[in-house]
Symmetry: C2
Subunit: 189 residues, 2 copies
DNA sequence: TAAGTTTACTTCAAGTTTTGAAGTAAATTA
DNA sequence: TAATTTACTTCAAAACTTGAAGTAAACTTA
């Protein structure tokens, strides 16, 4: 049933992607090119950007729904992303900033809410008293665990092996693109 | 309790992804396993979501910078996404809604600004007078063209072949994941 | 070591964007 | 012809983002 929803024709003609020693996927042309019409629409970086945008919105929607189901109503998907970014580590605001490419004042705003909601705990670092150290509270950890459980349940129900692999593939490729965009930002495109 | 953001249970070890007749990429095991250390970080869907988020922000930043460079200051990256979503076609608000998975009132808001800035033209459909038909004006088309030119210039300068392939790969895989999330939303995960 | 600079944040006040609950008007259906 | 549905738009409140201060600790330098 998924098949019907997939829209056909998109660049990237038949190809073989193979993972080499390091951590890159390579696309190599498939033996005898079957479709010569390379007018197959090639995804531009704008197409990807729109897809990123749309996917984010979609995913946020899912998280929102799950939060509602869990009876959490003092934080939204954006704050959840921050929780997930923190994960099991204890880190400084600065590190968190880097992790999510956030703006400082913005993270401060989120952290305030998360602290008020008791999802995270902050202590002033002893080493450097300017720096705040952040970590999840039990409540925060629990919420993350619940969400992960929901995600797993969802995967078990709806995902085929293929989907999980798509996830890995998308992650890898996107990760590298992001690094490139980061460089672009540094150099001033 | 919580086992971190990376859950270590998904096997994209050495593998070959190949595109079959339809439009799916498949992963098949690679001959002699080269890297045994499968501690290669495994991405969960939350990791991907965060990456999506971060990448979007990054890309928005680039667009903002480019808009500034072009002297455009009446619209931002979000509006640009809408312009790009419209592209060369003439479509109704409803179609646009689907394209970007937007919320109705939200698109209305964007369209208002884009109309005021003379980037798009809207005419009431003759067939169905409730429906507005949208298309880019010359100004809108020009802006899109300028941005695409900038993107190409950027690609020429910074991208290696690999990057372009990452783009295609990320697009494909993410596209399918998005469809899955869309289904999840329909079925109520 | 006093003075200046940088770092690591936080706060605040404007904006901007998003949401959701109406509202409007044209099409459809009963 | 009276509901109902569809295709939007509007509005106001909430959420979010930005950028310009502000604070205080750490570091540099004269």
């Amino acid at each position: 049933m998924t098949e019907g929803l997939l829209h056909p024709s998109m660049g990237l003609e038949d190809a073989v992607l193979l993972r080499n020693g390091g951590d890159r996927l390579r696309v190599v042309p498939d033996e005898p090119r079957r479709d010569q019409h390379s007018d197959a629409p090639q995804a531009s970086c704008f197409d990807l950007a729109r897809l990123l945008d749309r996917s984010s919105r979609r995913f946020s929607g899912l998280i929102s729904a799950e939060l509602t189901r869990l009876g959490v109503d003092d934080i939204g998907p954006a704050q959840v992303m921050v929780l997930l970014a923190i994960g099991d580590t204890e880190l400084s605001v600065g590190e968190l900033l880097d992790r999510g490419n956030y703006v400082g004042s913005n993270i401060s705003y989120y952290l305030k809410q998360l602290t008020e909601g008791d999802y995270i705990a902050r202590v002033t670092s002893q080493r450097d008293k300017r720096s705040a150290r952040i970590r999840l509270t039990e409540k925060g950890r629990q919420l993350c665990a619940d969400l992960k459980e929901a995600a797993k349940a969802f995967e078990r129900t709806f995902c085929v092996e293929q989907d999980l692999q798509d996830l890995a593939v998308a992650f890898q490729a996107l990760h590298r693109l992001e690094l490139m965009w980061a460089n672009a930002a540094r150099f001033g495109a």
